[in-house]
Amino acid sequence: MISYLLRRILQLLPVLLIASVLVWGMIYAVPGNPVAVMVGENASAEQVAAETARLGLDRPVAVQYAAWLGSALRGDLGASIHSREPVLKLIGERLPATLQLAALATLLALALGIPVALAGAVAPNSWLDRLLSGWSALALGVPTFWLGILLILLFAVELRWLPSASGYVAFWDAPLQTLRNTALPALTLAVYVSGIFARFLRASLITELNADYVRTARAKGLPERTVVMRHALRNALLPFITIVGIMTASFIGGAVVTESVFTYPGIGRLLIQAISSRDYPLIQGCILVILGIYVAINVVVDLVYAYVDPRIEYS
């Protein structure tokens, strides 16, 4: 099993490596002199030259990359052009908020999605199933930013129950405040993802419910509840783990839209700000951190897999 995990990590390494080259190289793809962009439009030629030397941009390309990667691995992602603050520190300030939102949204999505999938799959094509499938389609189809707007209209503008914009408070400091702040963005994300969850799990549950071993279970005289929960659902949840992992990973950074609807201080909005101000070190830093978390979640998914699927140890 250790070797299985190591192998999966080794598979992810080239992805990370290529991605890092691309992230590093994106500065060079920018039209015009990247240093000029970085130093600012009004900089003098000397300033540009000095900055070029400081960044080591006059050295061979491979050396530059190695140096950049080396310091990135040591945790030095450079400093923001704008605020002159270390990139890592800026990201570190935003990360807890993002993680908190991702966790809450995932939990909510599971709570919304799994029952919908179960209820639909046990009676495929029944009126209930059609209704729930329609709901999933709606959940998937409504753009998060529009749903966010509708939720704000309802809960913040009309009912005035919840804030329309939310700051970040550490959960342990003020749990209730946190929930109030995170409720709407988390719900917005969760509705969308619950649609994905429900649709995927329903399909895989239906496949499993038609499998031979389920027929065997029924032939043994097991109650239908046991057949569904103990046999079919467990098998259907296996491939589902991957989907949950992918979706959770996509909340890290991928929730930019939701974050900006609710002006939520997550890493996604940091990235937008960086992009609109052309703050390249910050852009690179954000993307690297998001990639790192993506890889980490992938590894966690594999760990869970290895734990729940008895076949993996031996394959």
């Binding site: 071993y213 065997t216 279970a217 031996y314």
Partner: protein, 682 residues
Amino acid sequence: MKVDPVLSVRGLQVSFAGAEGPVPAVRGVDLDVWPDEVLGIVGESGSGKSVTALAIAGLLAGNAQVRGSVFVDGQDVVRASPDELRRLRAERIGFIFQDPTTTLNPLMTVGRQVTEGQVAAGRLARGEAGARAAALLREVDIADPVGRAGQYPHQFSGGMRQRAVIAMAMAGRPRLIIADEPTTALDVTVQAQILSVLARRQAETGAAVILITHDLGVVAEVAHRVAVMYGGRVVETGPVRDIFRNPRHPYTAALLNSIPRLDRADSRLDPIPGQPPMPAELPSGCAFEPRCALGRGQLVCRASDPPLEPQGPAQRAACHFAGEAAAPVRAAARAAEPRPEPTAEPLLIVDDLRVHYPIRAGVLRRTVGHVRAVDGVSLSVRPGETVSLVGESGCGKTTTGRAVMGLVKTAGGRILFDGQALGGLGPAGWRKARRHMQYIFQDPYSSLNPVKPVGEVVAEPLRIHGVYEALGGARYVAGLFERVGLSPRVMERYPREFSGGQKQRIGIARALALQPRLLILDEPVAALDVSIQAQIVNLLQDLQQDLGLAYLFIAHDLSVVRHISDRVAVMYLGRIVEEGPKDAIYERPMHPYTQSLLSAVPTPDPDARRHRIVLEGEIPNPASPPTGCTFHPRCFRADERCAREAPAFVPVPGEATRAACHYPGPLAGAPAGEATSLEAAS
């Protein structure tokens, strides 16, 4: 009989909702099964045999309409509430399914699955479940039952899984056991094991058993009574001996005539024309009428479906002319036409062929070893000759065929076609060589391109080789269709509009298009219904005679092989263990594996029930084959020399075959005695 039947079915009808109204799958079936009795239900695909079995256990899906009555142990299944049905299944019915690779839940230990139903029904305390599971597994001869109970299905071999399924079916000491094609997915030597375990457990528990199968041999071997199903009805039923000796229904008689037999060497089979009816498009009147030699065209047969009526003391048949159907005239008992002794130079020579697959392991997926899928195979095929490769799954027979065709990479050895070595050929050379060698696939459903009309499918090789016009274009292709017994008018249709047998004919037409001299046939009839197999086998024989083709025939069915071959090579774990003229191999096998294999094949003759050599264990993992003679762990003649030293493949002195065995020889004196002791030992 004084005792009440365990199962009593009356007027069972099952239909499924279809696009154009309900589709009748079962149309009025009556059955009785008494305690301590095995009822065999035989039928081809679409005969309704499996649906009947599922209906008896109440396992049909919600879209099935069930009418009639099914009483198990006095309890009505059709009208039972879900709760009653569950209790019935937990306490009185055991079900054994076909494919042991999919019938067990991969995520649950085998032991838990075996007893789970009893625990859920409250008939077994949770704390005792472990011990009970081990006991049940012991009863089906699983070694180390305690350890095995804690393992997962993927750690079991196919045969062991099926034993576990039997243990599971037996867990509630049911009065009725339904086995739906329980050995179809298994190798013949494993089938023999499973059938004997099933028979023993049946005798020990006195349960009533329904055994559903398409294999007449299996029925003849284990059933007491037989019901033959066709088109959703029982067309004939009676004691096994009567059915096989004196069939009263034309279908039963024709079926018995159409199958190739291990114990006979006829030159020609007597196929049933046409194909089994689809439940959606049954003919009116007698369902067998379009294929019946006796009733075809008879008004009464077209007009009314005959009822199942007594024929003699214990037999019943559903035929207007039941009396006349008797006497299975083996019309085909023509003497084997003497084949010209092939003296010509071999067309194909395979010399020491090796195919290895890498085994990768570890973090870096490095190659740590090789599976020797084919490990030094040598054979030759002369023009006009049929050489068969037989063996169980994983023996390397298909890989050998594919290697000859250049579809897999070889690791060593030479392949000569018409004196030319194929090994060093570049792509262009292979293209040329392939004009003369063609391949016919096992699965007719997957071997034809579904988006092309079949005329195009057959013409495709011609177009690829740029000879379409030269050979005569559409006219030539039409000729090919006629050649394989299909009307050229169907050339516009798509593959999905054809039945399995017709598809296989199209596959043969395509293989003939380039006028090859050698056909490699990979299990060409294995996927077809029994009554269709004979049609294809006959077609292949006719083609060989007319066109002088050489066949390399790859199969696991020893009866078909006996029928079609001139010479036979038996493979085991990547090697040929015995090779020789057909009659020598079948009448006087020298190698212990050949002997066991032949004795494991059930014969469709209830009087020929013999003691089998039941081989222990299953085929070892080819990745780590046993030392010395790879057969030694299962061989009844093995000694320590066999474990040490691999035998050479040499002619057996004074015999017609060559064998790879230290101690070749005919089965000693009283095979029965020897076999019995072996069986007892296993």
